[in-house]
């Protein structure tokens, strides 16, 4: 079998530029976890069902297990590590903690990013709209009610903050 050449790519992850050479078969999620060391993005089903590997690629949610790292050349990626500012949790993370939107935490990175995207486009979602958004992601322990309440709590605080 012929040697398969690594391919050089440049991408921004949470605002930091990276230049790496990766084999074509490297999945984006493995690039994030193994090559860049950001293990906040979880690998679950590896076939696009569970959603825990969800990241934002150029502002749009995507399964990082269904994307090759080479396809992220030139892209801006946001992972769960990019949500908190310095030592302050993102309001969504705060709300997940307070409303018990997580238990084991495995689905949390994906839930946070899919909720983050929702609130960017729809700052005052209904419960049904939150359900529709997070239906892309599986949680096997907390149940979804706490997550819905957490997203509502974050949305309410965002609205209050916008008024003041």
């Amino acid at each position: 079998m012929t040697m398969i050449q690594n391919i050089s790519i440049r991408l921004s992850v949470n605002g930091i530029q990276h230049e790496l050479a990766v084999p074509p078969r490297r999945l984006l999620v493995d690039l994030l976890r193994h090559d860049i060391g950001l293990t906040g993005t979880h690998v679950g089903c590896e076939h696009g069902v569970c959603g825990t590997c969800t990241v934002l690629v150029d502002g749009e949610s995507a399964r990082s297990c269904l994307m090759l790292a080479v396809q992220a050349d030139g892209a801006e990626i946001l992972t769960v590590e990019g949500l908190a500012q310095a030592d302050r949790l993102h309001p969504l993370q705060e709300a997940f903690r307070e409303a018990q939107g997580l238990q084991c935490g495995f689905c949390t990175p994906g839930m946070l990013l899919i909720s983050y995207e929702l609130l960017q486009h729809n700052p005052a979602p209904t419960d049904d709209e939150i359900r529709e958004a997070i239906s892309a992601n599986l949680c096997r322990c907390t149940g979804y009610q706490g997550i819905i309440e957490a997203v509502q709590l974050a949305a309410t605080r965002q609205a209050v903050a916008a008024v003041h």
Binding site: M1, T2, I4, I7, P23, P24, R25, L27, D30, E46, H47, G48, G51, T54, V57, E60, S61, A62, R63, C65, L66, M67, L68, V70, Q71, I114, E117, E132, A133, S135, A136
Partner: protein, 290 residues
């Protein structure tokens, strides 16, 4: 698991892409949105020597008016299709069906052409293409040929695309006046593949009788299929009562469902009857307002 090893090419032009496909033939696979192909790679169900990534071919990413209908580049993302204003005006049923594919992160990357070329018999768009009498362009080094949707889907996960060919454009003829469309499906969970899905396109005449009908099904056979016996029974009739019930029954009779862990064949056939009834009735209602 992780994908097997493969060579990777990301051509910048259509010529380069079809040249690579011509050179590598059946050993190459086209990578578009990757939402079906990458799971197949991760499961090692596909082990191509070469991936030809067409994501840089932005000239295949468009939604254009074509006569009274639409011409869509094969690389158009499903999320763009579901939210395109011109599609919502000219062919709202296409946006409706597209919204039923997977979830938003899937539709952000998944493409129209990728969905059709993957040809999953349970997928929504292949059945809808039959109902809309769509035509598809296949481009190769030798030139371009056009196939009606009717001849495109040849088996489960199989299409008329030959090695060396790339699906480049999908054209949907304009809908006649007083035409309504509907896509209705039953899934176990939101975003799952359909146990059964029904696309109905109904055109009414000035007296409110059915002038033209298309009913197509997904999830209940080896390929998406037209229910032509159901279409026949609707012609020249008012779409209600016994006519509607008979069309629904004939839709169910047209199916060749299989049993699996999700549903038995008998249940799928029964669901087809209910779902076809809903889709046909809704399409006829929408035709009244169109």
């Amino acid at each position: 698991m992780k994908p097997p090893n493969f060579e990777y090419l990301a051509p910048r032009t259509l010529d380069e892409a079809v040249a690579a496909l011509a050179q590598h033939g059946g050993r190459a696979k086209v990578l578009a949105g990757g939402q079906s192909l990458i799971p197949l790679l991760n499961f090692r169900l596909a082990q191509p020597d070469l991936l030809v990534d067409i994501n840089h071919l932005t000239q295949l990413d468009y939604v254009r008016e074509w006569d009274a209908g639409l011409a869509l580049g094969s690389l158009t993302r499903q999320h763009v299709v579901e939210s395109s204003p011109i599609i919502r005006v000219r062919c709202p049923v296409l946006a409706e069906a597209c919204h039923l594919i997977g979830h938003l992160p899937i539709r952000h990357r998944g493409t129209l052409g990728g969905n059709l070329a993957h040809a999953d018999p349970a997928s929504e768009l292949p059945a809808l293409m039959l109902a809309l009498d769509a035509e598809l362009d296949l481009t190769s080094q030798g030139g371009r040929r056009t196939l009606p949707a009717e001849r495109f889907f040849t088996g489960p996960l199989q299409t008329a695309i030959q090695p060396g060919e790339l699906l480049t454009e999908v054209r949907i003829p304009g809908l006649l006046p007083r035409t309504g469309g509907a896509f209705v499906e039953v899934t176990r969970r939101s975003g799952d593949y359909a146990l059964v899905g029904v696309a109905a396109i109904i055109t009414l005449n000035e007296l409110g009788r059915c002038q033209r009908a298309r009913v197509a099904l997904c999830g209940v056979g080896p390929t998406p299929m037209r229910a032509q016996d159901a279409e026949q029974v609707l012609l020249s009739e008012v779409v209600s009562g016994n006519v509607l019930a008979e069309a629904a029954q004939r839709s169910a009779d047209a199916t060749e469902p299989s049993s699996d862990v999700h549903a038995s064949a008998a249940f799928r056939r029964k669901l087809t009857r209910y779902t076809a009834r809903q889709a046909i009735e809704l399409a006829a209602q929408r035709a009244t307002g169109a």
